[in-house]
């Protein structure tokens, strides 16, 4: 049982764990078919202490910020832990962003230290160095003779005895960016109390124990892996396994080699795994397929009330063996999970707990408890979370508002945005949902102009508009989420589109050229930001006195005069 009621901070909870579980394995790092490192809890403590001491040798003080910008690996955890013990506020950054986007977040988050790895720093060093001028940049695994610029090597840090610095529950533990790669950066300020409350609840619902192994495949900077692949397993004495490559062949080999018991996934990875299993099943001779189908039916019946890993893994051994034979639980969230995928895995005896959350409120607000499994909802609010549906229509659909101990303090340096997001302690989620008779939440759409990709990335139209500024022959334009203009009642196939008003009097050739340029710029965007289509519009956009586009009146006008069939593909 995880009891964190008297624990003041994340640093304290994790420090206790390194003492309690001393000889247990905390971290394993695999690279292809090799094992590149392994730390017991005692070794993790020693490694983290070295980093604490090195930070303190550079004058790092409690409350200073330490950004971590790395792929999932042991040093992510070692660095984050060392920084927490020096009293840091962590700023986890997304290694998948482009270098200019990463530099912009460093400029916004103003860390005192940036811990990163060589391939990332190699690109960042080519960016304007303004954001890094006052930052101690620490780079891991730089090759001999690499041009480090202003950075220092992790491996040659100056060490001194570390002094553990305690933090209070209300102090900031992390600043986590939920979006803002182009528009206004939204840095969610989460306290130690926020994380401790979430860890305690999830640790009670889905306890992990010594000997169990969590496979960390989602980026650790993301709220899900930070909680499920860092805090919870380490607080409970389990092992976190990292792997440098996420190729399916190596994933499967690592799961088998290390006997992975727990994973958290986003829907896109769940679907990739599903496709692979379905393909293999389809390749079986007819009689074998029939046999497996019967065993799947039998397993589904036997586990209809709650999961039974032992039974399922015996009944369906060949399928379970593909996942190492020990996988007993998958958490899935971050974006809309298709019922069919979750039900498929559950029928195989690998229960998928679907959850729903926002970076603005820790990790999950609602989650399925698997008693029994349900694939058609995002579960019930977790203990401590109050949930209200506001402005409900006749069907009971309303906007989800939540209150509870995991709701953030606000957005960093954005008091106006914070006031819009949190009203009287209630967080406006911007999602539309309804509650069924059993108290389960079902999400049916968004009240905000935004999309969430299957990979769990929030994309806001205003963050993309900069990429289309200054188009020739374009009078004005605006980007919208198609489901915001024309709600479908579902969260699948979310797409962005651009509404373009060519300069009055433009010839057909000029409009064609304009669309051609739109296409070219669209292709240069990261794939998750790309627009699916465009709408041509001739009416003047409504604007405020300060010439900002009034999106809501424009959306109403578009809704009234056009429909989905007007969208042309880009």
């Amino acid at each position: 049982m995880l009891d964190l009621g008297r624990i003041p901070s994340l640093g304290a909870a994790l420090r206790d764990a390194t003492i309690s579980f001393k000889i247990r394995t905390a971290l394993i790092e695999a690279d292809r078919h090799r094992e590149s490192s392994r730390h017991t809890y005692a070794e993790l403590r020693a490694a983290a202490d070295l980093f604490t001491g090195a930070l303190q040798a550079h004058g790092f003080e409690p409350g200073d910020r330490c950004a971590v910008l790395m792929q999932n690996q042991s040093k992510w955890i070692v660095g984050a832990l060392g920084a927490l013990w020096a009293g840091a506020t962590l700023v986890p950054l997304d290694y998948k962003l482009t270098a200019p986007e990463q530099a912009a977040l460093v400029a916004h988050g103003k860390p005192r230290v940036l811990l990163t790895e060589w391939p990332t720093w190699e690109k960042l060093a080519l960016e304007p160095q303004g954001p890094f001028e006052r930052v101690l940049v620490v780079v891991t695994e730089a090759p001999e003779g690499a041009a480090l610029g202003r950075a220092v090597r992790f491996e040659s840090l100056r060490h001194q005895p570390a002094v553990y610095r305690e933090r209070a529950r209300e102090d900031l533990a992390c600043i986590v960016y939920s979006s803002g790669t182009g528009g206004t950066p939204k840095g969610c300020m989460l306290s130690h109390a926020n994380y401790l409350a979430q860890a305690e609840v999830l640790g009670r619902m889905y306890p992990m124990k010594e000997g169990e192994r969590y496979f960390s495949v989602l980026p650790t900077n993301h709220a899900i892996d930070f909680m499920c692949g860092f805090l919870i397993p380490l607080m409970m004495g389990a092992t976190v396994v990292h792997q440098r490559t996420l190729r399916p062949a190596y994933l499967s080999a690592t799961m088998q080699r290390y006997g992975i018991t727990h994973m958290a996934l986003v829907p896109t990875i769940l679907k990739t795994l599903e496709r692979r299993i379905r393909d293999r099943l389809d390749e079986l001779p007819k009689w074998q397929r029939l046999l497996i189908d019967n065993l799947i039916d039998l397993n589904e019946f036997a586990t209809r009330r709650e999961p039974n890993h032992k039974l399922s893994s015996r009944l369906l051994r060949p399928i379970h063996d593909q996942f190492g034979g020990k996988l007993k639980f998958v958490f899935c969230g971050g974006a809309f999970v298709e019922r069919r995928s979750a039900e498929f895995f559950n029928s195989l005896g690998i229960p998928v707990a679907i959850g729903y959350g926002l970076t603005e409120a820790g990790t999950v607000l609602t989650v399925n408890d698997l008693k029994p499994f349900r694939g058609d909802s995002v579960g019930k609010p977790v203990p401590g979370v109050e949930l209200e549906l506001r402005d409900q229509n006749e069907a009971g659909v309303g906007e989800v508002w939540v209150r509870g101990p995991t709701v953030m303090q606000g957005y960093l340096d954005e008091p106006e945005l914070s006031r819009e997001a949190i009203v009287d302690g209630w967080l406006r989620t911007g999602d539309l949902g309804l509650l069924d008779a059993a108290g389960h939440l079902k999400l049916v759409g968004r009240a905000r102009n935004m999309i969430v990709t299957e990979g769990g990335k929030n994309v806001y139209p205003e963050d993309i508009e900069a990429a289309f500024a200054g188009l020739d022959d374009c009078e004005e334009f605006s980007v919208f989420a198609a489901n915001y203009l024309w709600p479908t009642g579902k969260l699948t196939d979310e797409q962005l589109l651009i509404v373009v008003r060519p300069k009055p009097g433009s010839s057909d050739e000029q409009v064609d050229a304009l669309i051609g340029e739109l296409r070219a710029r669209n292709r240069r965007l990261a794939d998750y930001k790309r627009l699916a289509g465009y709408l041509l519009w001739e009416r003047e956009f409504p604007r405020t006195a300060s010439q900002k586009i009034k999106r809501d009146p424009l959306a109403r006008d578009l809704r009234a005069r056009l429909d989905r069939a007007s969208i042309r593909a880009l």
Binding site: Q71, T98, P119, T120, R244, T245, R247, P248, T268, D527
Partner: protein
Amino acid sequence: MADTVQILIKMAAKRFKADAAQLRPEDDMFERLGIDSFQAVELISDLEGEFDIELPDYELQGVKTFAALAQKIDKRR
């Protein structure tokens, strides 16, 4: 370099059932092959075998064209 990109195009066409003759080095491979980044890593595994190199996943970040990927391969040969 010219050879690498041609071998790469041939292998990509084979894996994703496209017509190699229609693919140019400067094409956006994700768009032309209709693949996502998860599918692209499967191609990377094929390439590692063919060229006998190790190509970390991060090398794929920001790479869109066949030519750019060929360059990454050549750097490691």
